[in-house]
Symmetry: C2
Subunit: 527 residues, 2 copies
């Protein structure tokens, strides 16, 4: 079933000579399949096909695209256990996680289908003409959002389903009416190819034209760079490391025609621990955060990598309990030897940073590629002086910043870089006292949460997964939730356009039955 070939539209292709295999980190050996790195010609063909089919696909009805998205979900479902098996042996993640992530991915696809069918998301606004206006007649103006063009999507290593082949970026782009050229993450190439085949089958089953989705195998950075540099690509969605995301952002900005890149590059997700909450239940919070830090072997972009609190005996109890719970957890296998190596390198570097104290560092319990937690503490003053301590360590690593008082907490928050999330743990009675701190924390993050853990990102319209740089390259957009679709559309205004040439969403008769803002009032009525 896994052939190692690329999909140029629906056509399988393997003309290149460079091959690679994936790795099973639990069994500590390579998987048997060989994958063919896409060639320059294959990349070019995929983008050109996407560009040529764009006018047709962007013009399909929302109903048709919704049918396509639901069919993708069904086809992925149909792959059953064989898909889960492949996921597990390419990621080292347990079956339960695989099944849960698949459920989330199917739900995501179906949610986008529901979302686009109302057409309201396209923000249609109609202002009818006023020929008698002085000094100049007012023209008829109609505006709605339209698909941007072919999108390059880069899969994330840590979410083989939800942020990969048929994940949020692909789903939102296809929902918007944009063809997708997908650059597969080499760590789970087999899983990705299986999902890609499901997308292709769904396209054929629902009459979606060839070229709306292509799937390219890659290793290293060449395929991705060529893809982003291709004039046919009009925007980029990326989830991954700071280095990778920033490199693509720079490349896209330097094109002859610069294009937008939405890169979600991770975060250390600060958690502000307020004194009363610590006083009341240090142990309970330590328990919850130990689970959050070690979830998925800590390989989440919303992993809580930083705690900020005033020094107190209660904080010491929190640190002690957190340390104990972390050491008690079963150690998860990391995604890949390279990820594991990187984790060891970064924890080692952070342990050597000036004046950090090691609280927990149990080392690996048994076999190789295990994620052993590391918990450090540092003073507020030392944290403020050392931006290096804000580097994301991908894995179950966390740092507690012990501040001399609330003023130092304030200063620590002031020096924080942009974040995906920021969390406040506090009792209702103390929240008011710290409302200014909370406001400052909001200015640093895309999502602000209270008395909970940042891992676990809800997929809904109200979600925001995107914060100030370096969490993402553009805080004005989200990569999770329905509003992720806004990355891939642009407004077009029609002035005095004959009815026959207007897109359905803007026609007088309102054939789509959409809610539209007509001369200032929302209505589903025709004009």
């Amino acid at each position: 079933m896994i052939t190692g070939e690329n999909f140029i539209g629906k056509t399988r292709s393997a003309t290149g000579s460079k091959q690679f295999s994936t790795f099973d980190p639990v069994k500590a050996k390579p998987n048997p399949e060989q994958f063919f790195v896409a060639t320059e010609k294959e990349i070019d063909d995929a983008v050109n096909l996407a560009a040529s089919v764009f006018p047709v696909y962007s013009d399909t009805s929302a109903e048709k695209r919704a049918g396509f998205l639901r069919a993708i979900a069904d086809e992925i479902s149909e792959l059953g256990d064989s898909l889960i098996d492949c996921y597990c042996r390419e990621s080292g993640l347990p079956e339960g996680r695989a099944a849960g992530e698949r459920g989330r991915t199917l739900n995501q696809l179906r949610s986008f289908a529901d979302y686009i069918e109302t057409e309201e998301w396209r923000m249609p606004v109609i202002e009818t003409a006023d020929p008698g206006r002085e000094p100049n007649p007012r023209p008829d103006l109609r505006n709605a959002l339209f698909a941007l063009g072919p999108i390059a999507v880069f899969g994330a290593g840590n979410f083989p389903f939800a942020f990969s082949t048929a994940g949020g970026d692909t789903a939102s782009a296809l929902a918007a009416g944009c063809p997708v050229v997908y650059k597969c993450h080499p760590m789970h190439a087999g899983t990705s190819e299986m999902v890609a085949s499901a997308i292709i089958r769904a396209a054929e089953r629902t009459g979606i034209p060839d070229g709306v989705f292509s799937h390219l195998h890659s290793q290293g950075t060449t395929v991705g760079q060529q893809l982003v540099a291709h004039p046919g690509i009009k925007a980029v969605g990326f989830t991954g490391s700071m280095g990778g995301g920033k490199a693509l952002y720079d490349l896209a900005a330097q094109r002859e025609e610069p294009i937008p890149v939405f890169a979600e590059m991770g975060s250390i997700n600060p958690v502000l621990l307020l004194p009363q909450a610590m006083e009341k239940d240090a142990k309970g919070w330590a328990d919850k955060f130990a689970a959050s830090i070690t979830l998925g072997a800590g390989q989440f972009c919303t992993n809580p990598g930083l705690f900020i609190s005033e020094e107190s005996p209660a904080l010491d109890r929190f640190i002690g309990a957190l340390s104990m719970f972390l050491e008690d957890k079963e150690q998860g296998t990391m995604l890949h030897p390279d990820i594991h190596q990187n984790y060891l390198r970064w924890t080692s570097l952070q342990k050597k940073q000036p004046n950090t104290q090691i609280v927990s560092d149990p080392g690996e319990k048994d076999q190789q590629y295990k994620a052993a937690p590391v918990l450090l503490t540092v003073s507020g003053l030392d944290f403020i002086k050392n931006p290096g301590l804000q580097h994301e360590v991908f894995g179950p690593f966390s740092l507690v910043v012990k501040c001399s008082g609330s003023e130092e907490v304030q200063e620590v928050i002031n020096v924080l870089q942009g974040q995906l999330t920021a969390t406040v743990i506090g009792n209702p009675t103390e929240m008011d006292k710290y409302s200014e701190l909370v406001k400052d924390l909001q200015s640093k993050a895309g999502r602000l949460l209270f008395n909970g853990v940042p891992t676990g990102v809800e997929v809904s319209e109200a979600m925001q997964h995107g914060g100030p740089y370096p969490a993402t390259t553009d805080s004005r957009f989200t990569s999770v939730g329905m509003r992720a679709i806004y990355r891939w559309v642009r407004p077009v205004c029609y002035q005095d356009c004959p009815q026959a040439l207007l897109p359905d969403i803007l026609k007088n008769g309102n054939p789509l039955g959409a809610s539209r803002k007509v001369n200032g009032q929302y209505t589903t009525q025709s004009i």
Copy 2:
């Protein structure tokens, strides 16, 4: 009244030694006032002040900000004839234009005031918790748009009011809750300083804190570059040349923290002339387009600089009539000797492009700095081969591309770069036949208009002034109309936030009375 000083917040400052004056192109002599180029320290102070006041200003009520915007309009109005006088002697534009543009600018400010007061533009969405959901409880999620931070705004030389000091960029940023550091256009520094003083008075009158608006005089590129590079600036609005906009875009992308730049860099605004319309009324259209091409001495970013049509006797009649009408028009004075010089240089270059034919080139009728129209023709084939013909010539220049048939028209449209506008002139009976061409034209532009002229940009919610690159740096946004505000905001999601800490827009009680999407339904009710 004009002192030549900068405004660092409400404080006048002129610590620099570099001075410059503006120029009256009608009288062909420099104006008497001297302006002080902002120093590095002044720029730094202005941005730091904006950054420090941001938390307070972004937290003001929409009502307060609306009051501020209306007060700005009133204060500008109060300046009366002295402002118009200054505008005219710094731009060479006639009094009627000055008064019209002022009216548009006041209307813009008041429209943004109305727009933000409903709060609906912030797209509030609330999803209440579902503690019983399986497998995990659903948290309470609330999302709305919040101000991004201090914005650097660059004024446009060709619109001393509407795209300058209190123009659309400033108005939309202030409406969003963002402080503005304004880089004055040196060609109309006195006009700008007067408008800036009106903004400062309005701020004082409506209790807006110091630092929400600063005004910096500049000459050359240094002030602008330093401003965009300043870490306190979080986004940039620019209207002007391709060279200037792209340089700022590049600079912003290369910052340690890259920031979004919306640069509107002009366009040649293609006009597709369909055969029946030419057959029916070549002369009438020639008359309308001669007026559009020469309006404001051709110094508009929506100036129709390109016509595309099939060869026919009717097209020849159009060209002949257009030529005649252009030569009959009174020649307007250009904004500045440099602009005039640039126009001469570019028309001269385009006249020498391979196989262009000169149809009209009457030269200047009387005194210096007049904009003499230039009309060229070229074959479709030669146009396709020569991207240089797509360079914007700022002034009353236009090029007619004569195609051998509708297929060549198609090919010409295919090679077009991104545009602010594209226009179709056609009879109702022939539109259907050309619907594919129209669709292709739509893919190149932000606004598509029919049987009208592209000059004259309506200020309303349905407007789109922003198209694919190189018309603008981000086609997903507009710089004209109410939705220009979306450039300066980002979504923030509050998860399980206590009521007391929620911003008013998301509180259960809905104290702002906003229309909000609550669990999928729009309502103004409280929860």
